[in-house]
Subunit: 271 residues, 2 copies
């Protein structure tokens, strides 16, 4: 792992101790697949980050500054994962914002994740629920204690991911991925207007499948013909099992994975 830390346009090397990111989780982030030095989905990541910045009143660094950081860490040819965290600047104690403060932001390089489990992921249901908060729903913000608690519910390496419901009982997502389910030839994915993150790979899948965004109960997931998880780092991940429910490999999932491999070179075979 290597990293660059900035205050506005200045490379400052270290996080300020009084960062509002550290104090309040007052920021947004993106986690991105890098292939041969490029973030193929950058436009979508940028758009999602801008939506978050607008909602939270955050100032983002320019595309040029971010592109320079990307180039410095990944050069022309490296593969891996890039993580960008942008937090509100201004270090006074208290919740009041300083509109003129430059953002504190970090760009870091990480290895590619391991290949997904052969035959499909094994999931569980998490007990930790997601609170309903329309003011933050959909955003990839830095208040992630619910995900930390949910991921902390298991340490069995035979379990790959956990599905989360809202406090109202609706299925929302996995701890770090979105969820799609297939009934017949109809895809659907949980709405993210009350909680959850509007993922970049989710947006691509919506455009490809015409999936319905819906409220979904655990029984709707368990009764599906196929289930997949997705995120911008790992692409499309077939699901083999949720608790006691098993799913056979499905040609519709394989077809979507092939389609993704054709449009995003980071997810092509062998990567």
């Amino acid at each position: 792992m290597s990293e660059l830390i900035f205050l506005g346009g200045a490379h400052v090397n270290v996080l300020p101790g009084d960062s509002r990111g550290f104090a309040y989780g007052d920021g947004v982030f993106e986690t991105m697949r890098v292939h041969h030095g490029n973030v193929h989905w950058w436009t979508a990541h940028r758009a999602r980050m801008e939506a978050g910045a607008e909602r939270l009143g955050l100032t983002l660094p320019s595309d040029l500054l971010i592109a320079r950081a990307q180039h410095e860490l990944f050069g022309r040819g490296h593969d891996g994962v890039a993580k960008l965290i942008v937090t509100r600047g201004g270090g006074a104690r208290g919740y009041a914002r300083d509109a003129d403060a430059h953002p504190v932001w970090r760009y870091s390089r990480h290895p590619l994740p391991p290949a997904p489990r052969e035959g499909g992921l094994v999931l569980r249901w998490c007990a930790t629920a997601l609170a309903v908060q329309p003011a933050l729903a959909g955003l990839k913000h830095c208040n992630r204690l619910e995900q930390v608690l949910a991921r902390g519910e298991w340490d069995d390496p035979a379990i790959d991911e956990g599905l989360m419901r809202s406090t109202e009982g609706d299925v929302v997502c996995a701890t770090s991925a979105n969820l799609f389910v297939l009934h017949g030839d109809r895809w659907s994915t949980p709405m993210v207007d009350r909680c959850g993150v509007a993922g970049t790979c989710r947006a691509w899948l919506l455009s490809q499948t015409g999936a319905a965004e819906s409220r979904m109960r655990p029984a709707d997931v368990e009764s599906a013909d196929a289930v997949l998880l997705c995120n911008a780092v790992r692409g499309i991940l077939p699901v083999a099992r949720i608790g006691e429910h098993a799913y056979s490999p499905h040609p519709a999932v394989a077809e979507l994975r092939q389609r993704l491999a054709r449009v995003h070179p980071g997810f092509a075979a062998g990567h």
Copy 2:
């Protein structure tokens, strides 16, 4: 402001860039009144922090380490505000926790807040609501975007604080203080089992007044004979106005302030 930053027992001077505090708000904090070098309510702050650490599975630094940091920043005689943030250590990307990682923590010194407005505080109602999340309710954790959004709703210096409701409509607190209301001779304060923070000064006031912890609607606040806010840094703050509702100075509030001044020297007259 001055600060000390630690990784476990080691003074490291700077925040690690891969801190989970910065990435996820994965920590808890305390903000404490310091009088003549001492945190008078330390036992209560420590107990609240331990409750948070237990719920989140965080490791806290020892009392001895914290006392040394306190002494280094405040010496024997300084007044001010101490802020302690304790975050989960372990820098790998992703939500999974490393149970063996030492905590990353920061102890900082800040000036005393300005004296409260003569005649009582002026409050408004915030539009930003608090999500209902029993898993985090009561804790002073570092996921504070809701408070940041609420405090961002106004910049009129004639407004001192904003009252927040839950997404279910119950009154919970101010952005950085708890709330008590008086009807006749009966005090009450909102429950903090679904959202909100179980404040240290709130706990003291509960013990002194026998206040009922209750679900409360805006009309219950507006119809009160007296309203006060409280926190561990500013003590008891009489409220003069909430929107169009005005409250006359009330002897019961004055009596509580005098009682607090007798037991906590930081809140004695002239401090």
